[in-house]
Amino acid sequence: MNCDFVADSLTMLAAETLPEEERRSCMNHIATCEECADALQGAIALWTVRSQHTEDTPQGMFERVMSHTFAATEQRVSGRRFWLGAGFGGAIAASLLAVTFALGMLAIPEQPEVAEFYVSMDESRPMHVAIETDRPLANATISILLSGDVEVEGYGDRRELSWTEDLDMGINKLTLPLKAVGAQGGQMVVRLSHPDSEQLFVVQLRTDG
């Protein structure tokens, strides 16, 4: 018995379908081989995922996804910098704001993109930002600067959040749960920066009601 044989048998071992004699041989090897013991844990974990029950595809989903796909591609082709949620499913299609992050922009544009979003004092509302890049960006810094009567839920009165991300080429989704803490509204600046470029995106936040 060796690691190769165990490797070939792990899926069946995890599924408990390996014949008893082979199972015993594998387990004897696993008792003495740390690598194979870890691999068995991995195989059992993946079997857990595999055996998850799933429901049928929701009715109308295929048509909906195709329709969004074609619309998103159409907008992409037309070169619009702002595409409004096409390409995402119904769950986040509403209130989607988009940023296109193109390489080669070495300075902050004089007129950053400006959008509008309505926040409420009664409930937290998810603001979806779609960041589209024309190639993968490692270690891009995303900074959120807030002013006015608005908070990112869970972060209290913090006015600036900053972190780094590896952005995929194409669409990256960011969801910010926002809540109004006063009637005056506010402003959010989303700054994307990378050694090659930087871009600002401004959202005017208005309080509902």
Binding site: C3, A7, L10, T11, A14, E35, C36, D38, A39, L40, Q41, G42, A43, A45, L46, W47, T48, V49, R50, Q52, H53, T54, E55, D56, T57, P58, M61, F62, R64, V65, M66, T69, T73, R76, V77, G87, G89, A91, I92, P126, S143, V152, G154, R158, R159, E160, L161, S162, W163, E165, D166, D168, G170, I171, N172, K173, L174, T175, L176, P177
Partner: protein
């Protein structure tokens, strides 16, 4: 090479894409659903996959194992999203649901506590998978979750069977080690400023 550069799409492209994807759509949704908390999340993931695949329609048309190719994109995408979410201070992909989502309660597990425990375990597995290399993790998912054979993966990736086999074993071991590590936690937010 897909259509991303200088692309243009016609109605014919769209109906061709529809016909190419339709036979695999249920499998895509099922795979997405196993990984996500709600049907809406699964739909978003499948949507992303279709968008990416549509831009590569020429490649999709010529590929032998279309379903495996699409599933590979799905796992790759999911792991990337998960990785981003793990590092982000805020939810990077709106789940629209939590572990009490009524969708989940329709699954076959009988007791809510079993269901929650299972969800937590799957969540931990997914977080561990997101720490692994996306390519290796996707390959492992295709084999161990979707049931593709080594021969099929060889055709899909062009890699020798021996290489695939050793990668799978190595990745499984790494996953097992990660799962025994209790420290798989979401990273902590770095806040660089706050209001006085």
């Amino acid at each position: 090479m897909g259509k991303a550069a200088g692309m243009s799409f016609s109605r014919t492209d769209n109906s061709r894409f529809t016909e190419l994807v339709r036979p695999h759509f249920d499998a895509l949704f099922a795979a997405a659903r196993r990984l996500t908390v709600s049907a809406a999340d699964a739909e978003d993931l499948v949507q992303d996959v279709c968008l990416k695949a549509h831009l590569r329609i020429d490649e999709l048309e010529t590929i032998e194992f279309r379903r495996a190719w699409l599933l590979k994109i799905l796992y790759h995408r999911f792991i990337d999203i998960q990785r981003t979410r793990n590092r982000s201070p805020v939810d990077m992909a709106d789940t629209g649901a939590d572990s009490h989502d009524p969708d989940i309660m329709t699954r076959e597990e009988s007791r809510p506590e079993d269901l929650v425990e299972r969800e937590m375990r799957v969540d931990k597995i997914i977080r561990a998978m997101s720490i692994l290399n996306s390519e290796a993790s996707s390959l492992l998912a295709l084999h161990d979750i979707e049931g593709y054979s080594l021969q099929e993966l060889k055709t899909l990736t062009g890699l020798p069977e021996g290489t695939i086999k050793s990668r799978l074993h190595r990745t499984r071991s790494r996953l097992g080690r990660l799962l025994s590590n209790e420290a798989i936690q979401k990273p902590v937010l770095t806040v660089v400023g706050s209001k006085k």
